[in-house]
């Protein structure tokens, strides 16, 4: 065993030397508090989804601008929050969207109040595609007819994924019905479903009358002939009108921006009371560890401001059907706090 001990020490010292020589070669931002290797964890486990795509666009630009290494890892919400909890050095950052506080509002296990537990960073983009669809041969022409039918006592079933972005539009609709047709809102029934494919399947099986979907995933279905079992039709995009107006003119697939605008407010009217219309934009933003050096927050804000001033990132985002939406940390935090408060009201109204 003496041999091995000797070897161990020599191997150990060789390794240490190697470490020192390698680490000196690692790209570092010489002039900022953010340095070395930075990992961006996201709240989704999919590397094919919008969160990943959007995060990698931002990460690539940030890494280049700051001259550091950045890597996006799709670890999922629960793991992402936990990883962020443990690292206050600034080597771990998180990018997620409205799900981060909607999960908390809906009381989903594993979600905390992000405004208390973390530092909310800058917003970077909007995915304007949040949509609701009906079968193409549905007897409901538009959302207004659906609300009227529910108000009239008809049961309308909606496939959603519970506890977040997919449910908020449903909640708002229910809230609107309770305002316009008091007492009838329970005729709007949520059918809790998982993935987009499951929701589509529920519609094909006539198990639901309306599904939650997205412009990106469902646009082609809206162009199928009416006699196709799979054909669908948009009835509602939850985005603000001003958001869709920023989309590329050609829209998505063969559905132009003009056509998309038919499905947003004020053409579609989902009231929140007080003459206010409900809208929901799925916005992507940074989340930081609460104890992270404020200088890093500032550094990222400045870097992003520079990047957005250059204008290249906007083109890339628009190509991928994202709406560029940069707000520095302070502004973003105030804006999102207010946004959460509004949705909190809706959710508590219909409880």
């Amino acid at each position: 065993m003496i041999v091995s001990n000797k070897l161990m020490t020599s191997v150990g010292s060789a390794a240490l030397m190697a470490a020192l020589s390698v680490s000196s070669g690692v790209a570092m931002a010489q002039d900022g508090p953010l340095r070395g290797n930075v990992r961006i964890v996201i709240g989704s486990t999919s590397t094919g989804g919008d969160t990943y795509q959007n995060s990698s666009i931002v990460a690539d630009h940030l890494a280049e601008h700051l001259d550091i290494n950045m890597k996006v890892d799709a670890v999922g919400a629960s793991s992402a929050f936990r990883t962020l909890d443990r690292d206050s050095r600034g080597n771990t950052l998180m990018i997620f969207h409205d799900q981060s506080y909607l999960g908390y509002l809906y009381g989903v296990q594993g979600y905390d109040n992000i405004f208390e537990k973390y530092t909310v960073g800058p917003t970077v983009a909007i995915n304007p595609g949040n949509a609701y669809l009906v079968p193409k041969d549905s007897s409901y022409e538009n959302l207004e007819q659906i609300m009227a039918a529910v108000g009239d006592g008809e049961t309308v079933r909606v496939a959603i994924q519970p506890g977040g972005v997919s449910e908020i539009g449903f909640s708002a609709l229910k809230n609107a019905i309770s305002i316009e047709y008091p007492g009838m809102e329970d005729n709007l029934v949520a059918v809790n479903t998982g993935s987009q494919s499951d929701k589509n399947q529920q519609l094909f099986d006539d198990q639901v009358d309306m599904i939650h979907g997205s412009v990106q995933a469902n646009e082609q279905y809206t162009r199928l002939p009416e006699d196709d079992q799979k054909a669908m039709r948009f009835v509602w995009l939850t985005a603000r009108q001003s958001t869709i107006e920023q989309a590329p003119e050609e829209g998505m697939g063969k559905t132009s921006r003009e056509q998309l605008l038919e499905y947003v407010e004020p053409n579609v009217h989902v009231t929140m009371g007080d003459d206010e219309n409900f809208t929901f934009d799925k916005e992507f933003f940074f989340l930081y560890n609460k104890d992270m050096d404020p200088a890093i927050v500032e550094q990222i804000d400045e870097a992003l401001a520079d990047i957005y001033a250059e204008g290249e990132i906007q083109e890339i985002q628009k190509n991928a059907f994202f709406i560029p939406n940069f707000k520095p940390s302070d502004e973003a935090a105030a804006y999102l706090t207010e946004k959460m408060a509004r949705y909190e009201e809706i959710i508590s109204n219909i409880k």
Partner: protein, 521 residues
């Protein structure tokens, strides 16, 4: 034939390179096709759509088939879908037939891959319309059918089923995820465990822990005596005992398994590993002589490998004709399309005819490259078993760690899962429970839950499982047949064993080789 102008040397080189890298990823225990595609996804930015697709499809095909290598040689499924390859491959490797086993697997793989590519090419839109006839109820029945393999796989049916149910139980630990339509609440654990177990145990760490780490523990217990893993491997004599005649009389199996693989791949939400399990079950039930299956029969390899490679074409069907990924790898492939600003959906093929042809070319070419790479590299790959165990084992542990850590993009608990299930696997085998049924229960358990509960939520009665549709009734017929078959076969083998036992009564000592054989199952 406009698309021909899109093909150039680089295109084919990338498809070939993809197949090669994919095979390497698949061959490393713990690294999967999904991971290979995911890590190379950013490269497709720079490559452009057609070249990017060539690379990714190469990786996909290579990654799925590379999984057979550790399955056969080390008894560790390189990817979840090669689980059934271990059942017959490893016993063959122990008998010194590792090279033969790999050759059989490679041929089965390429046939499966090509059949599914042909099905994809000719029938994609029709099959997509057929696949949406499968709702929660039918999907549950498919999973249930795959679960019936537990009965026929186990050496003692009662113990086997018990092990399978334990596997299902383990798969339920953690959150009933909202992304599956659940209510997002955790179960089967204490609150204190939530930070680690929120998402439950991940499949891959469980798989390589229970196969890889527990094998090492069992060896360590015996003192790691024989220093070469496959003691009787005959190598380098050009005589691997392989000839094409193995496939004689196995064509039905080959074709049937390829179609099963394609079909399961086609159903969104029914995981890829169900394909090889289902093909293996059917071969066990339908073949004339299945008594050797699980002890080193090439027919098991044929069923498993042709089915898991047929997944590739199958899983692309819903992706390209519904915009819905058929398995986890194609879910990542969607990213490649969105990165290039291409929509996938029911109109993908008519609107992107050239891309469609390009993809088919890449898929077929990748299968062929995979075949030649593997078929001629096997002799060298099989030498892995010649590495002394005291060097091989630490490297296996190391690679398992990398795979476990990387599968969910960097989660330390997945590494600890390796150890937990390594020890569990050791204990299970010691107390006489059976590993294969347990792991199949684990793989299929969570899907079974979702489809079962969602069926009942939608229809509110148990009778729906019988009356939903003609497809459901056909599936019930298959399930009943499968169960009856395994009971009959089980009774036959028991009678046979009793006869043999009475013949060799007196010499109760078990040969060490046979002993290990039992441990490994």
């Amino acid at each position: 034939m406009e698309f021909l102008s899109l093909l150039d040397i680089t295109f084919f080189l990338l498809a070939g390179l993809g197949a090669l890298v994919g095979i390497i990823f698949g061959a490393i225990p713990g690294m999967t096709a999904t991971m290979a595609v995911a890590v190379c996804l950013p490269l497709t930015y720079a490559l452009g759509l057609n070249h990017g697709l060539a690379l990714l499809l190469g990786l996909y095909v290579g990654g799925i088939s590379g999984g057979m290598v550790p399955a056969v040689l080390l008894n560790i499924p390189g990817t979840p879908s090669s689980i059934t390859t271990t059942f017959d491959g490893y016993p063959m490797a122990q008998k010194g037939e590792g090279e033969k086993a790999l050759r059989v697997s490679v041929i089965a793989s390429v046939v499966g891959g090509l059949i599914s590519a042909a099905v994809l090419f000719f029938f994609a839109p029709v099959l997509a319309d057929f696949s949406i006839k499968f709702s929660y109820v039918e999907k549950f029945l498919i999973i249930f059918l795959a679960l019936t393999v537990i009965a026929s796989l186990s050496s003692n049916m009662l113990v086997g089923i018990f092990s399978g149910v334990i596997g299902i139980w383990l798969s339920l630990v953690g959150v009933y995820s909202t992304s599956d339509g659940g209510n997002g609440k955790t179960r089967l654990m204490f609150d204190a465990m939530e930070p680690y177990l929120y998402e439950g145990f991940s499949l891959l760490p469980v798989l390589i822990g229970i196969f890889g780490i527990s094998t090492i523990l069992l060896e360590a217990e015996k003192g790691v005596k024989r220093d070469i893993a496959g003691e009787r491997v005959k190598l380098g004599k050009g005589n691997s005992g392989f000839s094409l005649s193995i496939f004689k009389g196995r064509m039905t199996n080959l074709v049937r398994s390829s179609f099963i693989g394609t079909f399961v791949g086609m159903l969104p939400g029914v995981g890829g590993s169900a394909a090889s399990v289902l093909a293996y079950t059917q071969e066990k039930n339908l073949s004339k002589d299945s008594s050797q299956m699980g002890k080193g029969a090439p027919q098991g390899l044929i069923a498993s490998e042709s089915a898991n490679n047929a997944l590739t074409g199958g899983a692309l069907i819903p992706l390209l004709s519904l915009g819905i990924p058929g398995d986890s790898t194609t879910a990542v492939l969607i990213g490649a399309f969105t990165l290039q600003g291409i929509q996938v959906g029911p109109l993908f093929i008519p609107e992107n005819v050239n891309t469609w042809y390009v993809m088919m070319t890449a898929l077929i070419f990748a299968n062929i490259v995979m075949f030649f790479l593997m078929f001629y590299a096997i002799k060298h790959i099989a030498k892995v078993v010649m590495v002394p165990k005291h060097l091989l084992f630490p490297i296996i542990v190391m690679m398992c760690v990398v795979g476990a850590y990387a599968i969910n993009y960097g989660i330390m608990f997945d590494v600890w899962t390796l150890l937990i299930f390594g020890v569990l696997g050791y204990v299970i085998q010691k107390v006489g429970l059976e590993v294969a049924p347990l792991i199949i229960g684990f793989i299929l358990g969570s899907q079974a839950e979702i489809y079962f509960v969602k069926s009942l939520e939608s229809f509110g009665t148990f009778s729906i499982f019988f009356t939903k549709s003609p497809i459901a009734m056909v599936l019930w017929a298959l399930i009943v047949a499968s169960v009856v078959f395994s009971i009959v076969v089980g009774m036959k083998t028991r009678a046979k064993q009793k006869m043999e036992l009475s013949q060799v009564a007196g010499s109760t000592q078990v040969k060490p080789g046979k002993d290990r054989d039992q441990n490994s199952r």
